[in-house]
């Protein structure tokens, strides 16, 4: 008892330390998910930081040992749509971000990271883009993705399916084969990957 009374009030609680360790591990994944939602890297990092702070502030409500990745992804997407509703210009910014990525393809100084896939994804509706990313790249099952998105499993599957079809149309119809490789080849690879991942669940 005496030892507890002598314990400094400045010492972090053990639960907070464990929570922070796990949250730090998730920062790269949160940044990646935010990037797919926002398109713009700076806006994505702002979103990821806001989500991280919300997760920290809500840490008492999180049960250690459960899926923190899904929990923080849910916070991040809710924050994204909350800001989207508040800002009437958000849809304009999404379009501008998409246009910037298209312009960058013609710019020889553009980052190597920009590619046809990112451009195509930026042109999808946010709900379809997030569903495809969560299932196809985020490593989530349909059920987990549904929980993150706050919708039914069938809705997630429908969005993933529509996202695939939309991407197909974008990549087939766009001017992305500057390197001589047909855009259809990239799409076949994407569809095969998404199909394989979804069938494993």
């Amino acid at each position: 008892m005496a030892e507890n009374l002598q314990r400094s009030s400045a010492e972090p609680r053990p639960d907070d330390e464990a929570f922070k360790r796990e949250l730090v591990q998730l920062i790269p994944h949160l940044r990646a998910f935010a990037r797919t939602l926002c398109g713009d890297p700076a806006a994505a990092d702002d979103l990821a930081q806001d989500a991280m702070m919300k997760a920290w502030d809500a840490r008492a409500s999180f049960q250690m040992g459960t899926n923190m990745k899904a929990w923080t992804f849910m916070i991040l997407r809710n924050q994204f749509y909350s800001e989207k509703r508040r800002s009437w210009r958000q849809s304009q910014l999404d379009q501008e971000a998409a246009e910037r990525t298209l312009v960058a393809v013609d710019d020889p100084e553009a980052p190597v990271a920009l590619d046809e896939l990112r451009q195509g994804l930026a042109m999808l509706p946010p709900e379809q883009r997030e569903a495809l990313i969560l299932v196809g790249a985020g490593g989530f099952a349909y059920e987990e993705a549904a929980e993150i998105c706050g919708c039914a499993v069938g809705t997630v599957k429908s969005r993933v399916s529509r996202a695939r079809r939309a991407l197909h149309g974008i990549l087939e119809g766009g001017n992305y084969d500057r390197d001589g490789e047909p855009a259809s080849e990239a799409m076949r690879s994407i569809l095969a990957d998404a199909e394989r991942l979804s069938s494993v669940r």
Binding site: P12, M52, W56, L117, I133, G136, G138, S189
Partner: protein, 34 residues
């Protein structure tokens, strides 16, 4: 695995210091409150 490669490209980036700074400041505020 292009979709995963695109995602992992960001995952593998260095985490900007500001992310860790934010957590450190939040942690300090929580500790001060006791």
């Amino acid at each position: 695995m292009r979709l995963r490669q695109m995602f992992d490209q960001v995952v593998n980036e260095d985490v900007p210091d500001e992310f860790l700074d934010i957590l450190r400041r939040a942690d300090s505020r929580a500790a001060e409150k006791g």
